[in-house]
């Protein structure tokens, strides 16, 4: 199994309910997973747990055979080889586009770094924007820089937290297509969070629907969102309306 | 890795401390009252006097004797507190204050040791030395009256006590009771006239205030010039400074004022001293003694008198021309240590009568 999460458990300090409750889940290499759920259902928290930005209360998690978290170990986020695109991008405002991208590159020669930066900029179609600062970019461009920055170190796993929420609809559709193309081209395993089933449908190989920090349903988009749901072992059948109602 | 930051900070502080400890090392752990052989010739002085003339005298002393004078200047009480807390380890050799009350306090706290020599006895009258030889006087200053020559005739003036009479209503100027000079003035009255009388006096002065106390001694003189009051209680040496000010207007103010030494027929004019005592456990007590002898010597006394308008304690030294022009005067004849003894009582009286 490429990525394996077992019984993940997490509660925020002041809350009474488990924010993430007994979460178990596996992902194959190269898969694009969409996590779908109401706001407040624990999607971001789940991503932050996978990333190592929060400390789980229990459970285990391994990635590509490496233990990220279990009873004894907790690997710091910077050591996990996981990339993340934040909801508001979190581009470093004091660095140019290129500097933002170079920041995450591992030790290699200056020339190689520049080359890699060009590759990812080409991927997101932003050649020529290297010297700009984040505040000189449109929302969609910022989003693509954030993606390029996350992809540049070639992470084993890419996490995206509602990457389209700040974009207008036209841009959303375009970027969504771009993203799938980019992810597939780079053969990146990715988990992205959304509350929009169109996004999920367009992008994901599989969809995980969560509610109150628990998995409600897992399935392929065509199965969960499609016209003729087919039975998947261990899955509950749900209707399109139920998903629309998210 | 984060720890390296903290390590860096700690290291930095250590370096700081190292380059900060500039003071030279003392001789061996010789804790006798008088050190036998100070390795480096120096004397460490805690002083509450901050006059340029003092610094020049220290420099002169250094040149003459090769003994380096190290100085820390602050309020006397703070210095006393520091010595107290440093205990036997203190580096201070000599405590110098501008008020005898503070010397008394240091003595009471057991911070001083006896200091005497033939030279000191010769240079300083007995009256200006502690009965137990714990401190000696260096300079004197008198608390005098200055008055508006146009509105007050010298014949109307007699004593501090007379200022409480009704004719002086709304005419008397004096600074706040926070000034140690007022405290020692009242302390002397407690000694001479008793607590009751002293309180009556303070109350009487408050009743005759021309305005609520504000500003320093010089400001009282200026207030006369401005017509706020007619007579002020102030220190002789501040008046001397005004007469020699760089600001011509101040000189003008001072020249229009008369000087009066009160209580000449009775108990004498109040006098306070600057003085010094050697710290118990001093590691450079010999040097401290040398410095005291130097400061009460004729050369230094002449400097105090001419540059700072203070009265010398050494009888062989004449006061400056200005001070001489004010004439000889009769001083209060009480043990100076009583000024210290009665200091707290004086404060309480000031508070009780509402002398701000």
């Amino acid at each position: 199994m490429f990525m394996d999460i077992k019984n993940l458990q997490f509660t925020y300090p002041k809350s009474t309910l488990n924010t993430v409750d007994n979460f178990s889940f596996t992902v194959e290499k190269g898969e694009v997973i969409s996590i779908l759920g109401r706001s407040g259902s624990g999607k971001s928290t789940l991503l932050r747990l996978i990333a190592g930005l929060e400390m789980p209360a229990g459970g285990a998690f391994s990635l590509n055979g490496k233990k990220m978290f279990c009873d004894k170990t907790f690997l710091q986020p910077e050591k996990r080889g996981i990339g993340m695109v934040f909801q508001d991008y979190a581009l470093f405002p004091h660095m140019s586009v290129e500097e933002n991208i170079l920041f995450g590159l591992p030790k290699m020669s200056r020339k190689d770094k520049k080359k890699r930066a060009q590759e990812v900029l080409e991927l997101v179609e932003l050649i020529g924007f290297e010297k700009r600062y984040p505040h000189q970019l449109s929302g969609g461009q910022q989003q693509r820089v954030a993606l390029a920055r996350a992809l540049a170190p070639e992470p084993e796993l890419l996490l995206l937290d509602e990457p389209f929420s700040n974009l207008d609809t036209d841009l959303q559709v375009k970027i969504r297509g771009d993203l799938r193309r980019i992810l597939k081209k780079a053969k990146t395993t990715a988990i992205f969070v959304t509350h929009n089933q169109n996004d999920a449908h367009a992008l994901a190989d599989r969809i995980v629907k969560i509610k109150d920090g628990k998995i409600e349903k897992i399935g392929r988009p065509c199965d969960l969102l499609g016209v003729s749901p087919t039975e998947i072992p261990g899955m509950v059948e749900i209707t399109y309306e139920e998903l629309i109602g998210v | 890795m984060k720890k390296s930051l903290i390590l860096l900070v700690v290291a930095l502080m250590l370096v700081l401390a190292a380059c900060g400890s500039t003071t030279k090392k003392e001789s061996g752990a010789d804790k006798d009252a008088v050190a036998k052989k100070p390795e480096k010739s120096e004397v460490n002085l805690y002083t509450s006097r901050h006059y340029d003339v003092d610094n020049e005298l220290y420099k002169k002393f250094e040149q003459e004797t090769g003994i380096k004078v190290n100085v820390i200047k602050d309020e006397a009480d703070v210095l006393i507190e520091r010595i107290k807390r440093e205990g036997t380890a203190t580096k201070a050799d000599l405590l110098l204050t501008a008020d005898v009350g503070r010397l008394y306090r240091a003595k009471e706290e057991g911070l001083l040791q006896t200091v005497s020599s033939d030279i000191l006895s010769k240079q300083i009258p007995e009256k200006l030395r502690d009965v137990d030889d714990m401190w000696v006087g260096l300079t004197k200053r008198a608390r005098i009256l200055v008055y508006n020559k146009d509105k007050v005739k010298p014949e109307e003036l007699s004593t501090y006590e007379a200022l409480t009479e009704d004719q002086w209503k709304n005419r008397v100027l004096v600074r706040s009771s926070e000034s140690v000079y007022n405290q020692s003035l009242l302390a002397s009255f407690i000694e001479i006239n008793g607590e009751e009388k002293a309180k009556e006096w303070a109350q009487g002065i408050v009743n005759n205030f021309a305005q609520n106390p504000e500003g320093g001694d010089r400001d009282q003189a200026k207030a006369i010039a401005a017509g706020i009051g007619d007579i002020a209680i102030m220190n002789s040496y501040y008046f001397g400074q005004m007469l020699n000010s760089q600001e011509p207007e101040e000189v003008k103010v001072a020249e229009n004022l008369g000087v009066f030494f009160p209580n000449q027929e009775t108990t004498g004019t109040h006098v306070n001293i600057s003085g010094a005592g050697v710290i118990k456990g001093s590691k450079n007590a010999d040097n401290a003694l040398k410095l005291l002898e130097f400061l009460t010597g004729e050369e230094a006394q002449g400097e105090f008198a001419s540059a700072n308008y203070e009265f010398p304690v050494n009888h062989n030294v004449a006061p400056s021309e200005l001070l001489k022009s004010w004439g000889e005067f009769k001083e209060q004849d009480i043990p100076l240590s009583t000024l210290g003894e009665n200091n707290a009582k004086a404060i309480m009286i000031f508070n009780e009568v509402g002398w701000k």
């Binding site: 300090p13 907790f74 986020p77 508001d88 | 890795m1 003071t23 001789s27 207030a223």
Partner: protein
């Protein structure tokens, strides 16, 4: 849960150590509250406390009111409008901070007293002898005037930085809703800048509470007077410390109120979208008014006293020993620079700790370090001496091991003085740094770690550059404050270590204000350079 600790160890250890160091001396003061009352206590209570507290509160209240009025109005003008001289005023209006209030008090009294330039000129050239009562500033209103002039920059500086960086969208949306400037000021500007106003005003309040120089000279009896009368006059240090401890109580009370006023209403902004507020150009009468207003404040709070000081320097030229001036200046710059540097480093460690450890305790604890700033410096000094002498005793075996023959090492070194500065002024630096951390939030930090940067690299590459403004302004505030500092410097310096401030004090305490002008002017000069450099550095910061 020790895994939780694993996440924060380095920072936590550092921060906790620093906080303990900052608290240690204060603890010895706080315990003073519980010391048994001395025989003087009834006297103190009956004759000193009540009235003194009353005048302290009067001073605090009106000074806070006026500094807010002036500081906020200036901040708003400069942040939102363009008018002649604006670019100069933007930084020049901070300059009054460089004048120690007691020097300001002496100077203003020097200007307007009987022999001062005003009355002198009226008398000698116009033959007018005005009623001297009009020229009396040595009273409570006068003290409020002095404090307001020389302390308003705290409010101005903190609020202006906030307004020009944080408020663009709010103010613009108010404009588009057709609100007039005054309505925007009262309904938008004041509410959104509440946190920075209170932050600045609380520094002002603390300065007023711990000040002794101005009130002593003016003959006003305040809480700090009571502390000194008790100590110096009655010779009762224990009772004085008890008083100081009660003052701390008042300050804690004020802090709690401040917390309540802030409430949960911390305005937070998505920092990627922070952009400067575009300036509205003022024309005609409005422009004249704006320029005039800033010019009047600048003149009264800076230009006039400086001109007077310069006049005195010329008057006493050659009469004041000059040869050591460079030495004092160098000493001043060294201690102020070192002190400010350490405070900023410590503030960054503690601030980062407080941000990473998301716990109430970690938020409130650093706030309490402000206690060192609330009580008169001399009382802090006694506490510091006590602590360092104890430290020296504790380290005695170490000294012996290294063959040092002195029992006092730390407590006679510059180390003690610098530590005392850190204890006293930490709150000022921390205030700046904390608001810097607040502003950048944790997103960038998370992003950096997701890009493989560890905590330390993130700190230096992301946090520190993003907080450049906060770091520089914190540094400058502390630097200028240390330059002016007197009571700690006087008693805690090593032998023969004079600074500009101790020099100025030496003369001023002996009523020789003219002789004090040279050192005072140098304090102002060094501070002015520092403030100017700060202004330049901030301007070049990429937006």
């Amino acid at each position: 849960m020790n895994k939780h600790l694993a996440n924060v160890n380095g920072w936590t250890i550092g921060a906790v150590l620093i906080i303990i160091l900052l608290f240690l001396p204060n603890v010895s003061i706080v315990t003073g509250v519980f010391s048994p009352a001395s025989e003087n206590w009834t006297h103190i209570k009956e004759f000193m406390l009540l009235n003194y507290i009353k005048s302290s509160l009067t001073l605090v209240f009106f000074t806070a009111l006026f500094t807010i009025a002036i500081g906020l109005s200036l901040a708003w003008l400069i942040a939102q409008y363009d008018f002649p001289l604006r670019n100069f005023m933007k930084w020049a209006l901070i300059l009054p901070l460089s004048i120690p209030p007691f020097i300001g008090a002496y100077t203003y009294h020097g200007i307007i007293n009987y022999t001062g330039v005003i009355q002198k000129t009226l008398r000698n050239h116009f033959d007018v002898t005005p009623n001297p009562a009009y020229f009396d500033i040595m009273n409570v209103p006068g003290a409020i005037f002095i404090y307001t002039l020389f302390l308003y920059p705290y409010v101005y500086m903190i609020t202006r930085i906030f307004l020009s960086h944080q408020s663009a969208s709010l103010i613009e949306s108010a404009r588009t809703l057709g609100k007039g400037p005054l309505e925007i000021f009262f309904r938008v500007v004041i509410p959104i800048s509440r946190v920075s106003i209170i932050g600045g005003a609380s520094l002002v309040v603390l300065e007023v509470l711990n000040d002794y120089g101005v009130v002593k000279y003016f003959g006003i009896q305040t809480f700090s007077t009571a502390i000194f009368q008790t100590w110096f006059g009655l010779g009762d240090l224990d009772a004085a410390i008890k008083l100081a401890a009660s003052l701390m109580g008042i300050v804690i009370f004020i802090l709690v109120i401040e917390r309540l006023l802030r409430g949960g209403k911390q305005f937070s902004y998505s920092t990627t979208k922070v952009r400067p507020l575009p300036l509205v150009r003022l024309k005609g009468r409005k422009a004249v008014f704006a320029t005039l207003y800033t010019l009047v404040i600048f003149s009264v709070a800076f230009l006039i006293p400086i001109l007077q000081l310069i006049d005195w320097v010329i008057l006493t030229f050659g009469k004041v020993p000059m040869h050591d001036v460079l030495f004092y200046t160098k000493n001043s710059v060294i201690v102020a620079g070192l002190g400010a540097f350490l405070i900023i480093v410590f503030s960054l460690v503690v601030g980062n700790f407080s941000r990473v450890v998301n716990h109430k305790f970690a938020k409130i604890l650093p706030k309490l370090t402000v206690l060192g700033y609330s009580i008169p410096g001399v009382v802090v000094a006694v506490a510091v001496i006590t602590t360092f002498i104890a430290l020296d005793r504790f380290l005695a075996p170490v000294y012996q091991y290294f063959g040092m023959d002195s029992e006092l090492v730390l407590s006679v070194s510059l180390f003690m003085l610098i530590s005392a500065y850190v204890i006293r002024f930490f709150a000022i630096g921390y205030n700046s740094i904390e608001s810097g951390f607040d502003k950048i939030g944790t997103d960038f930090r998370d992003a950096s770690r997701m890009l493989g940067a560890n905590s330390l690299r993130t700190f230096f590459k992301i946090d520190v550059p993003m907080m450049k403004g906060a770091i520089i302004s914190g540094f400058i505030l502390v630097f200028v404050d240390i330059l002016k500092e007197i009571p700690l410097t006087l008693i805690l310096r090593p032998f023969n270590y004079d600074t500009l401030a101790t020099k100025a004090f030496q003369y001023a305490s002996d009523e020789k204000i003219m002789e004090a002008s040279q050192a005072s002017l140098l304090i102002v000069g060094v501070s002015t350079i520092a403030i100017f450099v700060f202004h330049k550095l901030l301007r070049e910061e990429p937006k």
